[in-house]
């Protein structure tokens, strides 16, 4: 057998171009279905891995647009371009008393090393809702605190007591200034999007986005003295202007100076996870005119239903793709058969010579079979390698799609 393989190998090497073309054709024929199969499997796996989160998330409220985008971006912390709405909806939900609203405001933080982490502005309800266990430190307490997902903490190389300074240029609002965040805690790994997130209080997220700021008390006191000595100014008025230095870190000493410009109800949110108090409340909420009226600009979605629709769509596409592969596979087989037949003709003289040298018909069959086996095996290995390379890029692809 070893000799047959050696002869077959030598023959293939001798006809390099022909062998190369055959190898390339078979590799591509194997690679495409393999890569798309892995891609679909990965997509399915990711949807299922978030199935708990998806199924456990009763309602997602957000700006009107693609339901898939809203649900996937909310559950996987991908900021939605132009997908924000005003926090007035949060107040409306509170007033309605039908659900506990969990606000989400997302921003993307890209480090200088090119790493990307979502900054998730939310309330403590999110941690309770997802039952996220802490691996170290404590939860969010004061404005300016942050809690890191397990992977984010490892990648950023910080621990509780440390700090990070998200670069405002990486955030949506260019008017924001650097604000140092104190790392209060690190979450235990959950193998979900939570691992990659930097969690902050909603108000901290708004400060990071430039909707509010604070001043150093010393600078503020100077402003007070300035106003007090100004004969034209009322002694009851504190003069603030853009020259007053903005605090770069929120501390208990300067926290009282932090303020938002404008009405809090007008500040942006990416989504609200609503947790209705009962099944009836959920039905009433879904039937709310605000979410049904296209003019309101808002929609309320049941993530499990949206994920189900998405999987249905993926599987129906996959059925078409699978049918296509059957046709491609049949074509490839016919193509192989043609090659074998043609090579039989081309190699008739060679085979006759071998026969006259005393080689049996069986040996000649096995020689050709070995050549084919080597080509098939090599193309299978190459196809698997190429598919693996493609699959390794899937993560980037899926994250881009909000998965």
């Amino acid at each position: 057998m070893r000799h047959r393989l050696l002869l077959a190998w030598r023959h293939l090497l001798h006809h390099r171009i022909r062998s190369g073309i055959l190898l390339a054709c078979l590799t591509l024929s194997f690679c495409l279905p393999l890569a798309s199969h892995w891609l679909v499997r990965e997509f399915e796996h990711r949807l299922h891995s978030r199935a708990h989160a998806t199924g456990a998330t009763p309602l997602v409220i957000g700006a009107r647009g693609s339901p898939f985008d809203l649900v996937l971006h909310t559950l996987n912390f991908r900021p939605l371009e132009n997908g924000v709405f005003s926090a007035a909806e949060l107040a409306r939900l509170r007033a309605g008393g039908l659900a506990t609203p969990v606000p989400i405001y997302l921003a993307d933080y890209k480090t200088k090393r090119g790493l990307s982490f979502p900054i998730v502005g939310t309330t403590l309800d999110y941690f309770e809702f997802r039952q996220l266990p802490l691996a170290a430190g404590e939860g969010l307490v004061l404005l300016g605190d942050c809690v890191l997902g397990a992977h984010a903490a490892t990648a950023l190389q910080v621990a509780p007591g440390g700090s990070i300074t998200p670069d405002p240029r990486s955030l949506a609002d260019l008017s924001s200034l650097p604000l140092k965040l104190s790392v209060a805690g690190v979450l235990a790994p959950t193998h979900t999007a939570d691992d990659n997130a930097i969690f902050v209080d909603l108000k901290t997220a708004w400060v990071l986005a430039g909707h509010g700021h604070g001043h150093d008390p010393a600078a503020r006191d100077a402003a007070v003295r300035l106003s007090a000595t100004n004969s034209n100014a009322s002694t009851n008025t504190v003069v603030f202007n853009e020259a007053l230095p903005i605090a770069a870190r929120i501390t208990p000493d300067n926290i009282a100076t932090f303020h938002f410009h404008g009405d809090l109800a007008q500040l942006p949110l990416t989504a609200i996870i609503a947790r209705p108090h009962s099944e009836m409340d959920s039905v009433i909420l879904q039937g709310d005119r605000t979410y049904l009226d296209a003019k309101s600009g808002l929609q309320a979605l049941v993530p499990a239903q949206v994920a189900g629709q998405m999987l249905e769509l993926v599987f129906s596409v996959k059925r078409y793709v699978d049918a296509n592969y059957i046709v491609v596979a049949a074509g490839t087989l016919l193509f192989l058969a043609l090659i074998i037949l043609l090579s039989q003709r081309l190699r008739r003289e060679e085979m006759d010579t071998l026969f006259q040298l005393g080689c049996s018909r069986g040996t000649m069959f096995w020689l050709q079979a070995c050549e084919l086996l080597i080509i098939i095996a090599a193309s299978a290995v190459l196809a698997a390698g190429l598919a693996w390379v493609a699959a390794s890029r899937v993560d980037q692809l899926m994250r881009g799609a909000g998965l």
């Binding site: 107040a91 008393g97 309770e128 266990p133 802490l134 404005l143 979450l187």
Partner: protein
């Protein structure tokens, strides 16, 4: 496998399982199924309403020290983190109007525990008059403070106070469904008391809508709105003599708005009262009840207010 080996293996597996379990969960929602509920109220009226509704089922605290206006109070800087942690451990945090308790904006609190008692009637909240909506200021040696953009003394309108109480009762019922009937029954009694107060004030103030009234501080907006009072406010403190400039402005106001009574949060200094009487204005104490009264409870305080008002207006 023999039995001792099996036991050893089971113990080892259990040890591994326990060793691999995650650290203490973060701020897991307090166990609200049993035991006394812990409630933090933003001010005394909310504390009183919660106590009336929850009875012995809850311990209701109010963080501001006795006698201090909770809307001005803020935790000491070095205790802020501990204070917020303490609030995070509470089952409920009863909030008044938006922006009333500034410390709420400084810490991370769960929506689950926050009861926005005025959220259901946000459209009825009254903005503070422009001239009082200035930056931080202080009176004499008092603590520096600023007025919120929304008037805060919601409870001086008993109808709105009832809605605040209803929000508290609903939150308690969600937390302890088994005691929902008790909370509802207690709410009905409280509602009856507040309705009775409303009837008394209506009887007292009905027909006096055109009568000019003055207030020493801009804190009676909801009282004024409910009973359609012709009331104008200045910005004086009971324990601080206004300067001559303020008295001059007051004289101008009095000429345009000839009031015979001036409402005060607390009894003004005798010198202020005497000078007011000299101008034909009688000071009347109508305590808003930000903080717990020295004696009695919220309703006692409101009854004293009623008696004081009646004595002044009816001359009794």
């Amino acid at each position: 496998m023999n039995t001792p080996r099996l036991q050893l293996l089971l113990i080892a597996m259990l040890a591994v399982a326990l060793g691999c379990s995650p650290a203490t969960p973060q701020k897991v929602a307090p166990n609200t199924a049993t035991g006394s509920l812990r409630i933090v109220a933003a001010n005394y009226p909310l504390q009183y309403f919660a106590r009336r509704i929850a009875g012995d089922l809850a311990v209701v605290t109010q963080p501001a020290p006795a006698g201090e206006d909770p809307s001005d109070w803020q935790p000491a800087t070095n205790q802020l983190r501990a204070f917020i942690r303490d609030c995070q451990a509470a089952d409920l945090i009863l909030l008044n109007t938006p922006g009333y308790s500034r410390w709420v904006d400084w810490g991370s609190l769960a929506e689950r525990q926050c009861v926005h008692t005025t959220a259901s009637f946000a459209d009825h909240l009254v903005p503070v008059e422009e001239q009082f909506r200035q930056g931080a200021h202080q009176h004499g040696t008092g603590r520096q403070h600023s007025h919120a953009t929304l008037a805060v003394t919601v409870w001086l309108d008993p109808q709105l106070a009832i809605r605040q109480a209803a929000a508290i009762s609903a939150a308690l019922s969600r937390l302890r469904p088994a005691q929902a009937q008790t909370f509802a029954a207690n709410l009905r009694v409280l509602e009856s008391d507040l309705q009775s107060l409303h009837r008394e004030w209506t009887q007292l103030l009905d027909g006096r809508e055109a009568m000019p009234l003055l207030a020493s501080h801009p804190v009676y907006q909801y009282f004024q709105k409910r009973y359609r009072l012709n009331l104008q406010s200045v910005h004086w403190e009971p324990d601080e003599m206004p300067d001559e400039k303020e008295w001059a402005a007051f004289a101008v106001l009095l000429a345009k708005h000839p009031a015979r009574w001036m409402l005060w949060e607390d009894a003004p200094l005798p010198a202020i009262a005497a000078r007011l009487r000299g101008l034909g204005v009688t000071p009347v104490v109508l305590a808003p009840g930000f903080a717990a009264p020295d004696s009695g409870d919220y309703l006692d305080l409101m009854r004293r207010n009623t008696a004081e008002l009646r004595r002044a207006l009816d001359g009794r």
